[in-house]
Amino acid sequence: MKELRIGVYVCHCGTNIAAMVDVEKLAKELSEVKNVIVARDYKYMCSDPGQDLIIKDIQEHKLNRIVVAACSPRMHEVTFRKALEKAGLNPYYLEMANIREQCSWVHTNRNEATIKAKDLILAAIKRVKWHEPLDKRSVPINEATLIIGGGISGISAALELANAGKKVYLVEKSNKLGGIMNQIDLTFPFLNSARQILDRKLSEVVNHPNIEIFLNTEIGEIFGYIGNFETQINGNKIVFGNIIVATGLKPFDASRIPEYGYGKLPDVITSLEFENMLKSGDIKTKSGKQPQSIAIIHCVGSRNEKYNVYCSRVCCLTALKYINQINSVLPETSIFDIYADMRTFGKYCEEFYSSTSRKNVTFLVFDQKNELPKIREASSSDKCNLIINFREKLSGEIIEVPADMVILMVGMEAHEAAKEVAHKVGVSMCGNNFYIERHPKLDPVATTTDGVYVVGTCQAPKDIPDSISQAKAAAARILATIEAKTVDVEVTTAFINEDLCCGCQTCIKVCPYSAISFDAVKKVSIVNEVLCKGCGTCAAACPTGAAKAKHFTDVQILSQIEGLFSYA
């Protein structure tokens, strides 16, 4: 190994760090540590002059390792890596010590905080010795896209891509496109016909030369990685560079809630069944009579610890839509809207609520947390079909609501095929089977698997405009990667040392991305670094020490631990 020449930079971050950590003392003490050539403290390391300081030192003092003690590496690691690169040093020769978020900001004793900061920096110094240079890598991109799911999200994404001249394979499990939107009558808040919107889109999709549609088709095993996926459809191999998953939703099964008697009480129906009545224009009870009163119950299977804790986002507005529709068809019918919370965010949606609330409707609130309403059959003296019984939250009174028909606003769950598809495309799911996006705020379209995007209700419950937005966003993202021709892939991946690998294959099933395969000729495991995301689980599982997580190697981490205890 070349002579180790380390530069250590302790940031004041204004007073953010300096107030709680004696940065000047640290810089002085650290300059005496073995192999540390320069140690400095500076007001703002991330500022241009701060970075220039590092660059100048690298060039003047021939530094070959840099330790920056500042904020979280999640904040500025990229910034400082760029500075190293600018100075002609491999960016991975950097190590950061987090003395702000995990030290100065969370502690109250300056002396202890300074000791801790020193430990963290010494650990970084020990670690950085073992850092290895890593190089950027990129792969070319196939222009075609596979879209799984032919609902409104899948269709929207397909059109966006196809209109840009890119090939799309649209795979739908059922025998027709359109998904759940086929079952909807009007859309909120403008009460437009869902059918009309959908039909227009469908005719475009079906006739588009760039879109190849596969109905009644389930997706097979998918191989490859961003830019170069492949799979078999009906026995034919197709290749594509990106995947959009749009598997959609499954309506909540209302019979799971015993209180509502769905399936037992004939006039208790789900929102989708009611959509059907609206479509046929025939709102009748099971006995064929016009209902004198209709009750709507919200949050069926949603926002409830026992079923699903999340909000299904569309039910409140759909219920308001029903109030409008019932009002116009059956003006004399009393409507009871029984909700836990009224959530009407979104463009024109509050307005929609506002206008609807002035209609012939009585809003009642139930206590979602403690007790669901109970529906029972009415007795002959009640002059109605059903009685709903619950503690009305805004008055605290236990009340009975008479109704001839009860509409259950069933929530959304992930499609039953979601799990299987997740496995095939390599995306992960939250506890409730919705797919996990790469970042809930900054990247709600991509997934942690490069080249795989999730759109529509398979990612989380959402309404039609949100689904379409997400679909088009995914399409735009894909077009951008296609435009770039190549894509950069993770460099802090795993690596298997062939000289040490014994071929036990323990690592292969451990990899969540199927990035490790066995080379039967060499009798060693091999990492496909394009697929690898660098979690390092294989390195921890490898009994021989052959599997290494680059930038998080055993020796790096063990040295770091040693460093933590190298001072008093």
Binding site: M75, L120, P512, A540
Partner: protein, 148 residues
């Protein structure tokens, strides 16, 4: 907290292995939210709790850690799908091993901290520090130093 941990007598040192995506971010959040917790913890960042090799834990004890805390994403929330489960499996076996080796099992702890759980992280550190303070200094390092 600080009153209970008697600084003069014993200031615990804890090594925390935090996964990059959930727990480390959660710990950062505790910082950006200016939550306060004990200085005992020294964090080692790993990409995934699945990267935590039992060797790291043993090494930390050897170097003088009074406690070792491993934090990963909540079950099913792992950024790498299932790394946290692998950590869980190793943790249980490792625990059995350290018990056999006479180390108090409470010195090793695995918890799930999500990126949004800054407050939970702060609470966890304080709680764990308190527990370690009750246990007193770890004897592993001394035991190795006096090995003869």
């Amino acid at each position: 907290m600080e009153n209970k941990v008697n600084e003069k007598i014993f200031k615990p040192k804890i090594v925390g292995f935090l996964c990059n995506w959930c727990s480390y971010t959660g710990a950062d959040l505790a910082g950006t939210s200016r939550m306060k917790y004990d200085e005992s913890i020294r964090v080692v960042r790993v990409m995934c709790s699945g990267r935590v090799d039992p060797t790291f834990v043993l090494k930390a004890f050897k170097e003088g850690a009074d406690g070792v805390l491993i934090c990963g994403c909540h079950p099913r929330d792992c950024h790498y799908h299932e790394g946290n489960y692998k950590c869980l499996r190793r943790y249980h076996l490792l625990k059995k091993y350290i018990i056999q080796m006479g180390i108090e099992p409470d010195r090793l702890r695995l918890e799930w901290i999500s990126a949004s759980e800054g407050a939970e992280f702060a609470k966890l550190v304080n709680e764990f520090t308190q527990k370690i303070a009750e246990l007193g200094p770890s004897k592993v390092k001394q035991n190795i130093e006096t090995f003869s």
